[in-house]
Symmetry: C2
Subunit: 517 residues, 2 copies
């Protein structure tokens, strides 16, 4: 029972949350923080507002306080801080647990007639305010993890029909006996669902080529308030604008994704990895660009800047490039050699003994990061991560400008220097996807306000440089100012028209993508 172990206030499972002494030890590295972590409140001690919905008893709805608390927020820093401070004023009036697609249909019908808002909730790992509701209407969080089965497997085409509520490990466990894998491993893998990945255009395992879940979709089944949309299983098509691409990234505003046929991989038989260090980010960036433009498509290609490399222990302060190759068919050592040769041509030094271990080392640190973030939040550190993408011609300017301006915002807000680290999580022939981590000393009680100011600064600089407000974290509510600036106005008109046509009663996730936040 994964649900029983889940943290209601923070990331993941309660057994992996940092103990108090580790929180304090981490915070000791940042001057100005308290010496003890803020306690975690008990849900029973918190006053949830009285539920305003009285749904027919035939619907799978609950008003259980612990369930409502666990569905109040996503897992952004500001969500964790609000939960830790006991602020559950915005809790859903009820939580829905559909077990079938028909339950989803009936819940949406009921919500439309009752004037109730529905916010689809997969694993609840949104870090952009995508699964809360900030308006005044009664609202229901629709937890889809009851729809968690792999319904059908086509081993010839290597594809499976999977329900939208299947968490990463749940769906992989059902694919494993067939020797197949989706191989979509976002940082949230354990605590996010297929439907959530599709609704938010999640970024996954592959650093090149199939970076987003979008490319792994064969067809989708979506319950909209006016009916079920089901596209045909097709490996490719040119018949009009892609129906799937309208629902990919729709973030629960146009419909609830109940099923998808997904493209699978054979389980890789061979893997190889290496790490390469560089004198500076200019050389490292040139190397990554050469690799991204080579057509070699490494599975892993993560560049850590000096701060990021130092923090993760990957180097003493040089930029580090982690390369990984994998295949179920062809030899990988020769591919890795071609890749490291390109990195060396650009001035890189292949680390002795790094082959085979660098990717694994990186992965375990990667999965632990959100727990560390929560521990820091308990110590009143302000922690923000934001990610973007831009073309190579602007990559160095973006890196420098973001670090300068967000760094200045941190000083302005906190009165002290903070860390602004960066890594490239995904790379394309025409540009990288830089991912920034900001860590600074906050003041107890002011963390959310301070975070909001840092967020405003990062949104402003990304918008000015015309770098996307999000590469794979989605828009939610927190990114609306940046998204509204980025999105072409005629497309906004078209999207609002599509939304009004599919969801005339404005049931689905109001405030996300369109309409007032």
């Amino acid at each position: 029972m994964i649900a029983a172990e889940r943290s209601w206030w923070g990331w993941g499972t309660t057994d992996r949350a940092l103990p108090d002494d580790e929180c304090a030890a981490l915070a000791a590295m940042i001057p100005g923080l308290p010496d003890r972590p803020r306690p975690v409140p008990r849900v029973a001690d918190l006053e949830l507002p009285a539920p305003r919905v009285g749904p027919p008893s035939t619907l799978p709805l609950t008003t259980d306080p612990a369930d409502r608390a666990a569905h109040t927020y996503g897992k952004a820093y500001r969500d964790v801080v609000r939960a830790l401070s006991g602020d559950l004023r915005g809790a859903p009036d009820a939580v829905a647990h559909p077990a079938t697609e028909d339950d989803v249909v009936r819940l949406l019908d009921w919500a439309a007639s009752a004037g109730t808002v529905v916010v689809p909730f997969g694993g609840g790992s949104s870090v952009v305010g995508g699964v809360e509701y900030r308006g005044d209407r009664p609202w229901v969080s629709m937890d889809l993890t009851g729809l968690d089965r792999v319904l059908e497997i086509d081993p010839v085409s290597r594809a499976a029909r999977i329900q939208g509520g299947a968490l990463g490990p749940v769906l992989e466990a059902q694919l494993r006996p067939h020797g197949l894998t989706l191989r979509h491993f976002p940082q949230s893998f354990e605590f996010s669902t297929l439907g959530g990945w599709l609704a938010t255009r999640a970024g996954g395992h592959y650093a090149t080529l199939h970076t987003h879940i979008d490319d792994l979709v064969e067809s989708m089944r979506v319950v909209t308030p006016i009916g079920v949309s089901e596209s045909w299983r097709l490996p490719g098509s040119g018949a009009g604008p892609s129906p799937d691409r309208l629902f990919l990234g729709s973030e629960g505003t146009l419909g609830v994704i109940t099923e998808a046929w997904m493209r699978l991989q054979d389980r890789p038989r061979s893997k190889a990895s290496a790490s390469v260090t560089f004198a500076d980010m200019t050389a490292a960036t040139a190397a990554v660009r050469a690799i991204a433009q080579s057509g070699l498509h490494p599975a892993n290609c993560r560049l850590l800047d000096p701060g990021e490399a130092a923090m993760s222990g990957a180097s003493a302060g040089s930029p580090v490039l982690v390369l990984g190759v994998e295949s179920a068919v062809h030899p990988v050592e020769s591919r890795l050699a071609e890749l490291t040769a390109l990195a060396q041509d650009a001035g890189g030094t292949v680390e002795e003994g790094s082959r085979g271990s660098a990717a694994d080392t990186w992965r375990s640190a990667f999965l632990r990061m959100p727990y560390v973030r929560d521990g820091m939040a308990r110590m009143s550190a302000v922690v923000e991560t934001f990610e973007t993408a831009c073309t190579w011609d602007r990559a160095e300017e973006l890196y420098a400008t973001v670090r300068a301006e967000v760094g200045a915002a941190v000083r302005e807000v906190t009165g002290a220097d903070g860390l602004v680290n960066c890594r490239f999580t995904h790379v394309y022939p025409d540009g990288p996807a830089p991912y920034f981590t900001v860590i600074a000393a906050g003041r107890p009680g002011s963390e959310v306000a301070m975070w909001d100011e840092v967020k405003t600064a990062s949104t402003e600089v990304l918008g000015r440089l015309r770098a996307t407000i999000t590469h794979h974290h989605a828009v939610g509510r927190d990114h609306r100012p940046g998204y509204d600036r980025q999105r072409p106005e005629p497309f906004a008109v078209a999207l609002r028209a599509a939304k009004a046509a599919l969801d005339p009663a404005e049931v689905l996730n109001p405030g996300v993508l369109v309409g007032p936040v």
Copy 2:
């Protein structure tokens, strides 16, 4: 002056049309056809309807008869036959030749106020009725080839800002001095434009991976009737549903694509190819599937069935697989060896002496095909090509069923057997894109009616097997019955709403994708 040499009635340029004796020699292979080709009428001898539009003289519009004749139809078989029979009743009332984006804006404004229809026209190579108009309103064909410049090149990110009206050779000529290439080579390459490729989701050079032009788009600029939509240049993004993906495949119904930033390639330094024969289509299909699922991504991977291979001279009647690899960076011979090894494992025989020549031989035959089609049309043969895609689990059934049912339709319509050949033009990990060619003896004067019956049969069988109505030829007007069956209804509702919001006066290409044909 490419325009001066273009055929008004048939494919491409007049100097490459088949001479009368070649037409007759081709037709002699099919019993029951006339012994002389139908003559090509002169435009001056044809009666075009009087133009119904009297636009302000400040707009770049012409009512020149030759221009109107050349913009009456696309280049489908039924278009060629109608033109040859002198049927120009549906000619546009005028042809617009915008030289700037501002001209496009002014033309759309005028059309909205005058109640005139505008059909965007790139190279005019549509084979699906995408550039004609079948309604009763006055209409203008908007020829965009005046917007043909490469405006900006970013060699670092390998991208260029290119105007929508640039024909393939026109844009490649401007990229060549920079050592860069778009490398999008549809069969229509010489006679189609970037904007047309984007509007129809064209299929290009690459048989795997970046099969559609969609994947090469960094950003687009589209003039809609309510304003200009411009997306940001981004290598990747997860900010809401992709704005570009709404306009990709919109076939001139939502706006006019005036510019796009396109991802480019370095010119390949090495290429290698080989051809492999198989005992039967079952073995050949298994080999192609293994290759498509290998992660090796050959640039060329075209499987010709026995009929197709015999007709093109590639074999005496065995299925032939043409493989090609290319790179600007890494060695290709080892890649080709990996690919041919997979084909051999599946029972294939690598043809001695085929390396290095197979792809070129195929390409020159490929580019000549439409001229042959026109020569056959002049001999009253009925020629149809249609293409689709489906998953591997249904590929053999689709191949057999289409050949049986379309073959039966040909017999029913023409009273004799015809050819129904097939090749796989593009392949994906989860399925192939089969392309069928039908050749049968028609009766002079009944060719269009006979073609329509064959088309109805192919549309029916593809729809029943849930194979896409088009992989890369687009929907236009001819594919509307299949498209309406395939498209999920809630998506149709959303698309109609988007269309109504962007084009409230219904100016743009009515009958394509939405609304009555």
